[in-house]
Structures are given as C-alpha cells and as structure tokens.
C-alpha cells in the first residue's frame, strides 16, 4: 500500500515536472518575437563590447597580431612592470589627474551656481533665451571649439588685443605655445562648452523643490540669499551627490579629444594624457600589449574611484548609498 503510494507520488512528480517544462517551452515559444528582436543585439553587444574586454588578455602576452590566441607567449605582468618604470607614464598620469581634477572642480561647481542664478531670473522669456544660448556650445564638436579657442588666443586674437588695450600685457603672448597655460586653457574651454548643459540637471532638481518651502522661509523672514542657502541647496543635495559620484568615477576617463585637438609639439609635456599615451604606443608604434596595459590600468583605477566615492558619500549621507 505504502509502496504504491510512493510510486504514484513519484509519477505525479515526473508528470508535474514534464508539465512545467512544457509550460516553459510554451512560454519560450510565445516569446519568440521578443527573442528574435533582441538576438541581433545580443550578438552585437558580445562582439563589440565583450570581445574587446577579452582582448585585455593581450596585455599579458607578447602579442603578435598574426598568431592565434593559443600560439601567443604569456609574459605575466611584464608590460605593467615596464609601464610603472616609465618616467613618461608618471608625467602623463600627472597631466591626466590635474586636468580631470580641474574640470571636476570647475565643471561641477559652476553649473550648480549657474542653475541657481538661472532659477532666480524672474523674466521668463529672458530665462528661456539664456538657457537656449547656454546649451549651444555643447552641440558643437570639439574640433570647432578647439578652432575657436586657438583663434581667440592667437597672437593677433581678441584676447591678446583686449589684454594689451587694458594694459595688462606689454606684448602679445603666444598662449597656445606655453605649456604652463595648457591646463587652464583646456579647463576654460571645457567650462565654456559644457556649463549650460551640465546645469540642466541641477536646474530640473531646483524646479522640482516644493514651492511651499520657499513660502515658509519667507514667512520666517528669510531673504532671497537665505532662501537659496536654506531651501534650494538642501533641496538639490541628492542630485549633487549622484553627479559627484559619477564624475569621480569618470575622473580618469577624461578622454583625449580636447587635449588632442588643442595640443601642439611645444606643450606635449603638459597636454599628453593616458589615452593619448596608449594611442601613441599602442597603435602608432604598434606595441599593442603595452597600449592595452595602459587601458587596463585606467579601467581598474576608475572602478576603484567609483567604489571609494560611493563609500564616502554613504558615510556623509546617513548610511544610504546612492548607487
């Protein structure tokens, strides 16, 4: 009696399992269009995004392009050791960090201030116009911006003229040819291009603050400045933190477009950044493994920075992480 019961239980179990599989496959069949829709892009993401990550293995090999993966000689951390012994690398690292810190400081605080100022404008049409104008440079390519700045800062350009007329300079300065100005020029160019654009998010956060809070502050006798300090700034705290973490995570990924386009041979010691370094060694000199090692170094540093920034903000933000 008990035996048959057990058997039938087992049978039941098998039957249920079968049913479950059947239902699962039916579900798969019903979703066939979804699979078909996403399949090409799965292939795409694996080929164009994940195969390059697999390419990181190159950095640990004496990579030769015409050999297959198994035929390569493994060399361990040879190229990383070489990288850390290269004096040029430290120069490039310094340039990268200084320029990204500068652009973090300016490209982060000024948009907040700009957003607050925009919000204070009472005249709606004027406000809209200023916003539209301030977004314009964001849509223009770095090629154009670099062209504009090169021209502005040229010997006979408007900046030199202005400074000469104001008597701040005795003779025109070749700004673009002086290494010590390069960091400043890149930072200002970046600020000019992205100020309006980066303020969009802060402005949206300011606009969404509850109007009642301002009224309450007014009741308490707070003037405009006090309202900004006690209502606006605390109101956008969360957005400020999120943006801060994201920019710190990208600290080392400043790209190379600006530097590439604004630099010339005379300022190389100040303008070369990690990506340009990887580009020079990796592609122009065809030292693929070495160039890849630079890229890996960058990725690892940026992930560490992201995690550190998140932890620090968590500490300050009453234990809640933003990410």
């Amino acid at each position: 009696m008990s035996r048959t019961g057990e058997e039938s239980g087992q049978l039941n179990y098998c039957f249920e399992k079968q049913q479950k599989y059947k239902r699962y496959f039916q579900r798969l069949y019903r979703q066939r269009y979804l699979f078909l829709m996403v399949l090409p892009f799965l292939v795409w993401v694996i080929v164009f995004k994940y195969i390059p990550i697999w390419g990181w293995t190159m950095a640990f090999q004496d990579y030769k392009p015409h050999f297959s993966f198994l035929e390569q000689t493994w060399v361990g951390f040879k190229y990383f050791i070489e990288l850390f012994h290269d004096r040029q690398f430290y120069l490039v690292l310094r340039n990268t960090l200084v320029m990204s810190l500068l652009s973090l400081l300016c490209g982060y605080t000024f948009p907040i201030i700009f957003a607050i100022f925009i919000n204070e404008i009472r005249h709606k049409f004027f406000q809209k116009t200023i916003q539209t104008i301030s977004y314009l440079p964001h849509f223009v390519s770095w090629v154009v911006v670099a062209g504009i700045f090169t021209k502005l800062l040229a010997i006979g350009g408007p900046i030199n003229q202005l400074l000469l007329e104001l008597g701040l300079l005795k003779e025109p300065v070749l700004f673009m040819a002086k290494g010590e100005y390069f960091w400043g020029i890149v930072t200002v160019a970046d600020l000019w291009k992205e100020l309006g654009w980066n303020s969009i998010i802060f402005l949206a956060a300011i606009v969404s603050i509850d109007e009642n809070l301002y009224e309450a502050a007014q009741m308490d006798g707070a003037n405009r400045f006090r309202q900004i300090w006690h209502v606006t700034l605390p109101g956008i705290r969360m957005v400020v933190f999120i943006m801060l973490i994201m920019s710190i995570g990208n600290l080392i990924n400043i790209g190379f477009e600006r530097q590439f386009l604004l630099q010339n041979n005379l300022v190389k010691d100040y303008s070369e950044v990690l990506d340009l370094y990887a580009l020079t060694y990796g592609i122009r000199v065809a030292r693929y493994a070495y160039g890849t090692a630079v890229g890996i170094f960058k990725s690892v540093v940026s992930i560490i920075l992201l995690l550190v920034a998140n932890t620090v903000v968590k500490r300050f933000n009453d234990g809640t992480a933003v990410l």
Partner: protein
Amino acid sequence: MRQVKKGERLFQISLYLFMIFMGLITLYPFLNVLAISLNDSLDTIKGGVHLLPRVFTWNNYREVFTYPNLVTGFNISFLRTAVGTGLGLLSTAMVAYVISCREFVARRLVTALFILTMYVSGGLIPEFMLVRKLGLMNNFWVYILPGLISGWNVFVLRAYIDTLPVSLMESAKLDGASELTIFLRIVLPLCKPILATIALFIAVAQWNSWFDTYIYCSGKQALTTLQYEMMRILQDVTSATTSSMYGINEYNAPRTSPESIQAAITIVVTIPILLVYPFLQKYFVKGLTLGAIKS
C-alpha cells in the same frame, strides 16, 4: 524691510548683467567666425573683424565647395548621420522594449549585459584590433556598427516605457496583437518625445565625430568626414603659428586663406545643429532629467 528690498533689487540687476555677459561670451566666438566667413580673406588678415563682415563676399563658401575632400566629407558626414541615427534609434528602441517586458525569460541576462557596458569598456587598443579583425578598416560601416547602441540611451528609454500604462499593452495582447505589433503600433508612437531626444543625441554624436575617421579610415579619401577635414585644417593652422610640422599647401589657394576657409567650414558644420536643437529643447531637458533620476 526697505533695506532688504534694495539688496534684492541690486541682486536682480547684477544677475541680468551677468547673464547678458554670459550670453555674449557664448555667442561672440560664433558671430565672429560668421563675420570672418563672410569677409574677404585678404581683408581678414589685416585683423579687426569682429561682429560684422567689413568686405562682404560669398567667396569663402564657394571656395569650400570646390575642394573635392570637403564635398566628399560633407556627403559622408550627412550619410553617416542619417544611417547612424536611423539604425541606432531603431536598435535602441528594440532593446529597450524587450527588456521592459516583465515576463520575458531572458530579461535579466540582457539587462545585465547592457548595464555592464556602461561601466567597463575594452579600451582603445582592443577595439582597434577588433575592428581590424572584422575587416572594418576603411569601411563605411565602422562609422555605424561599433557605436550602434549606447547603454545609457537604452536605460533612459526603458525608464520612459516603464511609465506607460501597462493596461494599454495588456489589452492589445488580449486582442491578439503580437509583441512586434505592440512595439510598432503602441510603444513607439507613445515614446515620441524621448525618441526625439535620443535621436538628437545620436545625430549630434555622429555629425561631430572625427576620431573614427582619423584612426580607421584615414587611408581612404572617399570615406573622409567634414569634421576630420576640419581637424586637419585646424592642425595645419596651429602648427603654422607654432612653426613646425605640416605645410598648408593643400588649402593654400590664392583666392582665400586657411583662416577664412576654416571659418566657412565651421559655419557649415554648425548650422544644421543650430537649426535643430532649439526645437527639441523641452524634450531633451526632460530626457536628461529622467536619465539622471533613474541612474
């Protein structure tokens, strides 16, 4: 009380002055370039052209369109923007729709695969090797394929789809509509504002990019882009002033100067953007905000 009001009045006035100043330093370079592009090139060399052309001429523009490189560049830039935006938008929308379907079996896997691309990338050299292996060097598709989908756009769009009423799609399903029909007939039309934003982002990125031409297609003149040609002229002018490297022979035609040509191309490159973005402003502001909140 009066004291306070006075202070605020002063604040408002200085605010307006500051904003006008900001507007001027943003617009001045563009107006200056416009004036130079419309000014006689010999006259420009004398200097002092600011907001208005002194000796008006269309010559610089005429000259721009006689350089075969620049004409090819314009065509290719236009083509890559059109194809890249169309395909990119469709691909982004398809991925975003699929990962917004809650009952989809492979939803988590697909989502994870695309999220990860936002944080890690192979980097310059591995991507270069990949393009070479795939035979995309000096090939038009290198402008389209590697950057077809951006994870960020996918998640902004998905966030938007999530705000649509589920009942709409469910009732369509009850009526026997397939997923494809729901996607094309219901989801896409409802997403128009956010799709406009994403299209703008893709189009601007396509129109403005020069580095892929530089690194992948510099061996083939027929695939040159406007921004790349401009970059070359710019680099020439820079090095001429710092007295090294290239010569400027190629563009040094008698009727015009590199500076005037550069100004004219700058305007040609900037005008299409100028015509589009102010009209999409309210959409992209919303799209950007949505993206920030969700990420």
